[in-house]
Amino acid sequence: MPTAETFAQFDAEIQAMIAEVETISSPVTTMGRRTFLKLAGFAGGGLVLAFQLDTSVARAENAHDATVLNAFVRVAPDNTVTVYSKGPEIGQGIKTAFGLIIAEELDADWKTVKVDQAPINPKVYGYQGAGGSTSIPRGWDQLRQAGATARAMLIAAAAKQWNVPASECTAADSCVTHQSSGRKMTYGELAKAASAMPVPDVASVPLKTRAQYKLLGKRFSGVDNRKIVTGQPLFGIDVKLPGMLYANYVKCPAVGGTVKSANLDDIKKMPGIVDAFVLEGTGNPLEVMPGVAIIAKTTWDAFKAKDALKVEWDESTASKDSLTQAAAKAKELGATMPTPETNVGDIDAVFSSGAKVVEASYDYAMVSHQQLEPQNSTAWWHDGTMEMWTPSQQSDRGLAMIIKMLKLPDEKVVIHQTRAGGGFGRRLMNDYLCEAAAIAMKVNAPVKLQWKREDDFAHDFFRAGGYHFLKGAVDKSGKLTAFQNHLVSFSADGSRAVSGGGRSNNSFPVDIAPNVRYGVSLMPLKIPCGPWRAPTDNVQMFVIGSFLHELSVAAECDHVEFLLNWFNRPLAKPAAQGPPPDLSRTFNPTRAAGVLKLAAEKSGWGKKLPPGHGLGIAFGCSYGGHIAEAVELSVDAKKKITVHKITVVGDIGPIINMSSAENQAQGGAIDGLSTAMGLEIGVEQGRIQQSNFGEYPILRMPSAPPVEVHFIQSDFRPAGLGEPCVPPLAAALGNAVFAATGERVRTMPFKRAGYTI
């Protein structure tokens, strides 16, 4: 299909994917051992194949003797328990967290638990991606049940052997004990007999309460840490197969362009070059865009050939986007509110009633993901099978895409997930995986596609920029009475805002005020946009969190008091139709007030600050995480900001691994600071203006402030923590700058307003 026709579909596909990712369906029932063995292809050695990259040592020790209790638990005669992490480790800590959740309910001895990466098999594991901070909430029931049912089978096996009731037996530290007789057997000794016991109905197996946890909530070092600090191969980029070749893929710098001609003969003569050829691609940026593949003996050979490659592009269908022109256009459009999408109450009556009215416009730039491991995937077309290794965030979706793209039977595509050097939403897309597969179909050897850093800049699914024109009113008692938001955003298809560029229901709920008006104007954009760590919230909480502060200042209210007052507004009733709302993921005024009050206390809200210092605070509810953040900073005469301390307080339900949770909160807050201060992608003539870290100053250690983290633990189902700590930071930062200087920053990055860090 011609590029022009397929191209426009990509944004709709991303939006459908994100909607699916963010919806947590009913938990997948833990399947029995036999079903699992059949589906996992154990008999054919499929599982062994799947673990090629990960823990080869563990496999060699006991692969043949270990007993499979279910899809998540395997026990070896030496009492080593191996649990499987079904999702990708992208830095969010789930490999350790998933292991801990299973081990907790299994009553396994954590010191001898090994965590291996599960094979990609959605029929066995259900969802195997990592998006929308849903890994933990999605896996919570499924993983606990996997541990608890395996434990029940081990206890049943011991009870049978001892001829005592199972109720008299207890499990702890990978052993079952019969209390009254003192008899004790290890899981390793019981595993074979346990595997013959019936799989109990999950409803009949009790799960622990928070008070009963032995592991969850404590501090654990990540299961791969020793391998990380000794440089062991873990990542997609580290995959090496016998006879493997290396590839780079060159696409049009303006997205949508096609190849007219290229100096392929010259390239093929270069040292170390095995082949060079044109791919027409599928024309969908989520799959394979047209380009030139270079196949080489080493990565460096491929990169050198890329520099020497000369391609004449046909840019008739390519992007000609200019963000400079878009900024001017947005200003024009912002002046007139379009027909509102939402109109609650009588907002004009409030604005003309004599209430205090504030008007302001905010904007934020396009930004890029730039996970540190450049995109790569390894593909090996052999024996009618496409076998692949990838650091994708959604290898399960990648599997379906490759099956469809190559028109292969389901069982002829095998994907192994590796550790990923960061994700941030970029690796929810599988374009590099599709490219590797398309290239490997034409290469008679395993081939690793390796992008350059410059490729990661030129071909991202960017966080869209946006423009907000706001008007709000507060009454004499400091109550928010009216809120109007005119969003000027971008559109790929002309009918709705691009992925990540639309309205955020978290930041801008319909019940934000009793009188609400919301309208959206769209500008065309061909550059692909997509989810970026806490999509929509990461920008709109800056806008809303800053504007709420403008309103509290206008009302002469203390901002913490103003927010507490605002939390207690009448909330919209959930829709009468459809499933009941998931209360662990919706805004809860009690949880919100809890974290805000603690953040105020821990940051010293109301204390006397040194001259030139300012303290700002903001709240956000994102993916179920209720997060309050405070920033204390000072600003010098040249507008250089020194952040003295960030305070993060979160309520994400129970904490799985306190060490990892604090790390995520610190990293999320500093990512928020880094992006708010200095990151911006420019686009002119359809070309991305930044090409490497020199023009994209990701924050470094000298500018990284101490981040103090506190959690309020609750019994709501746990929320994920990869994303929720990013969104409130920018508003807290802007509010602190206002407190220190009296200047309101209404643009991101702040460097546009002259501030540096």
Binding site: E89, I90, G91, Q92, G93, R219, F220, S221, G222, D224, N225, R226, I228, V229, T230, G231, Q232, P233, L234, F235, I237, D238, K240, Y246, P271, T298, T299, W300, F303, Q370, Q371, L372, E373, P374, R419, A420, G421, G422, G423, F424, R453, S659, S660, Q664, Q666, G667, G668, I670, D671, S674, N692, F693, G694, I698, R700, M701, P702, A704, P706, V707
Partner: protein
């Protein structure tokens, strides 16, 4: 052409063009994957290795310019005994994605050669060349202090 290198206390001969960056010789020729490719222009520090104890960017160092003994992250421990920095990194659970951490640890090792008990300011200056996209900077700093018994 064959080149003689000394890597992690072992001498080896590699067959590579002299302008090949040390990074790609390590990764693709010698199959040592601990040294990471991040940016290729010396801006991120993921490719950091030590040459005679000093941190260098292997992505910008042609293999023909390697004149000293190279230590990569694979060679920092002595057998099973982790270097104090590696141990502190594990104990404090520094890593998130972990991709940059080999380079971070080697930059820290280079810093300690000059400042055995570094201050916060010395750590910030010494580590400024290494990007951690996950922003584990608080813990990197704490781990350096822990490994050296220094105070913030």
């Amino acid at each position: 052409m064959p080149l003689q290198l000394n890597i992690n206390r072992k001498s080896c001969t590699v067959d590579a063009a002299g302008d090949t960056p040390l990074l790609w010789v390590l990764r693709d020729v010698l199959d040592m994957k601990g040294t990471k490719y991040g940016c290729g222009i010396g801006m991120c520090g993921a490719c950091t290795v030590l040459m005679d104890g000093n941190a260098i960017r292997s992505c910008l160092t042609p293999v023909s310019a390697v004149t000293g003994n190279i230590t990569t992250i694979e060679g920092l421990a002595e057998g099973d005994k982790l270097h104090p920095l590696q141990q502190a990194w594990v104990d404090l659970d520094v890593a998130q994605c972990g991709y940059c951490q080999g380079g971070q640890i080697l930059s820290a090792a280079s810093l300690l050669a000059k400042h055995p008990k570094p201050t916060d300011a010395q750590i910030q200056e010494g580590m400024a060349g290494n990007i951690c996209r996950c922003a584990t900077y608080n813990r990197i700093k704490a781990a350096i202090h822990q490994a050296t018994g220094s105070q913030g």
